[in-house]
Symmetry: C2
Amino acid sequence: MHSTYAREKISMNEEILQKLDTLEQHIHHYNEGIDIGVHPFDIADLLIEIREVDNDLYTASLNKLPSTLLAEVLVELPKSFQEELYTNYGPKKLAKLTESLDTDDAAVLIQHIEEVDEEKADAIMSNLSDEDRDTIEELISYEDHEAGSYMQTEVFEAHLDETIGASILRLKKMKANREIDNVHHVFVVSNKRKFVGMIPLEDLILHGPKELYRDVIEEGKITISVDPHEEIKNVIETVANYDLSVIAVVNQRGILMGRITADDIYDIIEEGATEQIYNLAGVNDTAEQEESIWKIGRSRGLWLGLNLLTAIAASLVIGLFDTTLQSLVALAILMPIVASMGGNAGTQTLTVTVRQMALGDIEADEAKKTIYKEVFISLMNGVVYAVTMGVIAYMWFQMPMLGIVIGMAMIVNLFSAGFFGAVIPLTLKKFGVDPAIGSTVLLTTVTDVVGFFSFLGLATIILL
Amino acid sequence: MHSTYAREKISMNEEILQKLDTLEQHIHHYNEGIDIGVHPFDIADLLIEIREVDNDLYTASLNKLPSTLLAEVLVELPKSFQEELYTNYGPKKLAKLTESLDTDDAAVLIQHIEEVDEEKADAIMSNLSDEDRDTIEELISYEDHEAGSYMQTEVFEAHLDETIGASILRLKKMKANREIDNVHHVFVVSNKRKFVGMIPLEDLILHGPKELYRDVIEEGKITISVDPHEEIKNVIETVANYDLSVIAVVNQRGILMGRITADDIYDIIEEGATEQIYNLAGVNDTAEQEESIWKIGRSRGLWLGLNLLTAIAASLVIGLFDTTLQSLVALAILMPIVASMGGNAGTQTLTVTVRQMALGDIEADEAKKTIYKEVFISLMNGVVYAVTMGVIAYMWFQMPMLGIVIGMAMIVNLFSAGFFGAVIPLTLKKFGVDPAIGSTVLLTTVTDVVGFFSFLGLATIILL
C-alpha cells in the first residue's frame, strides 16, 4: 500500500510540475503578444487542477498572471473561487481587473462584489475612469430580465461616411490594444450614433477599401435590433428566428448602445431552461445560487409550506368521508392510487404545455386546441388504466363494485388532470404570470382533491 | 352587426392585399439579386398570415417563390406545413429544393420525408447529383445525439499555401452563387483537407492579400474541433466554454468534415433542455412531436403504466397495516400528507441535482458533497414541518401521540427524500443512464413507500 501511495504521490508531482510549466508558457506567450489559440478557459482549467493539489501553488500561479490576462481568466473560474478573490484583492487591484474586462463581464463582476461587500464595490467604482464608471453604472441599472443587462458596449462601428479601408485601420488598432473581440459584424451608424444596420464581415471583405459605407450599406445589411429594456426571452426568440450570431441593442431614440453576442445567448438559453425546470419543481433558480445552504433551504422550505397547505386541504376532503373509510378499509388502501395517477397525468400535460408555450409552439389562439388535445390524451389513458385498475381492485378485494368505483374515479380524475394541466398554465400566462411558477402546486391540489373526493364520494354512494 | 362584419371583412382584405404586395416585392428583390436584409423567416411569417385568411392564396403565393428562395422559406415554416408540401410536391421538385438548401437542412428535409414516405425519399435521392447524395447519405447516417447530424458541409476553407487574396476571390464567387452563408471563419487545411485551424475573418482582414495562410496561421488560430461521432451534449459544453460561434467537425484521421454554427447550437441547447424537462415529467420529447395524438397518448400511457405499478406497490405497503387503519381512521386521513411532503422535497432535490449535473456544475468527485447538502436541506425543512404538522395533527384529532407519530414519520421521509433525490440521479449517471429518465418514478416510489411505511408502522408501534 505504502509504496503505491508514494508512487502516486511522485507521479502527481510530475503531473503538477508539467501543468505549472504549461502555465508558464501560456503566460510567456501572452506577454510576448503571441496568440497560439489558448483560451482563458484553458488557463482557468489548469489553475483549478493546480489548486486541487496545492492551494499555495494556485495562489502563486494567479499572482504570476498579468492583470489583463487575470481578468479574462477570472470570469472563467468557478463562482466560489471568484468570490474568494473579491475578498482577498484590494479595491485598486479589482478596479484594474474591471477595466481590462469586456463591459458586460465588468458589470457582472461589480454586481457580484456588490452582493458580498457593497462598500468595496463603491471603492472599486471610484477607482475607475469616468467613462468606465458611467458604462458600468448604466449596465447594472438594467434588470436581470432585460436585454441591457446582457449587452456589451464594445462594438466595431463605422460611420456611413467612412471608407471601409479607414474603418479596417481602426479595427487593426483596436485589436492590437486588445480592445475588442468576436467582431463578426460592422455596426454602421449615422450622426449621433444612430443605428443604420449591421454588415457581416464576410460581406465587407467583398468590397474595396475605398468604398464608403453609405454606398455598400444596402447590400446584406441586417437592421434587426432590440431595445435595452426588451424582455431577454423575446431577444432569444428574435435571435433564434433570424439565425443571428449577434444582435444590436438600440435605444428608443435609435442610438446604438451595444451588442449581445452568441456566447451570452448560449448562457441565456441555458439559464432560461434552468429557471423553468426549477420553477416546475418548486425551486427558485436565484436562491439555488446562494452560497449559504440555509438560504437555499429556506427558499425551498417556503414552497414546501405551500405544499403542506394543499396536502392538508386534500386531507380535509378525506376527513369528510371518515365513516365511509371506517366501514371499508380497502378504500384507504386504494385511494392514493387515484390521486397519484391524476397527479402524474396532470404533470405530463402541465409540463408539455408550459414548455411549448415557452418555445412559442402554442400561440394565444391555440389555447382551445391545446386543451382539447390534452383532455383527449389524458382521458384516453384514463379509460385504459381505469379498466386495468378496476379489474385489479376487483380481484384484490373480491368486490366487483369496488372495481367500478375506482375505475370511475380514475376517469374523472384523469379528465380533470388533462383539463387543469392545460388550463392552469394557459390562464396564468393570460394574466401575465410566469406559467412555470405555481402551476405545479395548483395542479396537485386539484388532482388530489378531485381524486379523493370522486373516489370516496362514489364509494359512499355506490358501496355503502 | 352585419355592417361591422362587412367592414371587418374589407379591412381584412386590405390587410391581406398589403401582405401579398410585400411578398411580391420581396420576390422581386430576390430575383434581381437585391439583398435588403429580408430573412426567409419574415417571408414564412407572411405566408402563415396569408394562409390564415385564405388557403388558396397561400398555395398560389408559395408557387410564386423561385425554388432557391422556396427552399429557404420551407425550413422556416411550421412542421405541419412542411409535411403538407412533402406530400403535395413530386420527387423532382423536392430534389430541386433539397439541392438549394444547406446540407444540414437538406439532410433534415430528407429525414422528415423518410418518416412519412420512404419511397418518395428514395425517389428524391435518386434525382440528386452524386455529390449531394453522398453528402446527405453521410449526414443522415449519424445518430441524433451525434455531432455529425448537426453539421453542415459548406465551409469556407483555404489551403495553407493559398494567399489570402486568392481565397477572398473564391469567397466572392461562392457568395455570388449563394453557395455559402454565415462565414465568420476561414477553415485552414493542409493537403487532403487535414484541418489545421480556423481563423476569424476579423483577424484575416488585418493581413495583406498577398500573404500566405501558412505565414499567418499561427496568430489567433483556433484549433478546437469535435469528432462527428462526439455526443452533441459535449459539443455544446465545448462551444460554451470557449465562447465559440462556430466549431469545426474533424474526423479521426484529422480531415475537415464540416462545421456546426451558432443557430444550430441555439436549437440544440433548447432541445436538450426540452428533453430534460419532459423526461423529468415522464414525457418523451420525440414522441411529443408526433402528429398523431394517439401516438403521443400511447407514449405517455406507458409512463403512467409504470406509475400505476409503483402506486400499487405503495398501496400494498398500506395494506400491511389494514388493522391499524381500521382502528384509527385519522391515520387514513393524514397519511397522504406524509407521502406528499416527501414527494415534493424529493422532487426539489432531484431536479436540482439532475440540472446541475447536466450543466456540469456537479463534478464526479462532488457526489458526496451534493448528497450531504441535499440531505441537510431536506432534513432542515423536515424538522420544521414535522413540528408544524405534529401540532396541527394533535389539535385536529386531540391526540398528542398522533402528532408525535406524524412528526417522526415526516422527518424519516424527508431525510430519505433528500438522500434518494440526490443518490438516484447520481447513481443512474454512474451507470451511464440519463439521470433525467426514470429518476422521478423511482423517487416517488421511495417517498411513497417510506412515507406510508414509516407513518403507519410508527402508528402501529406507538398508538395501538
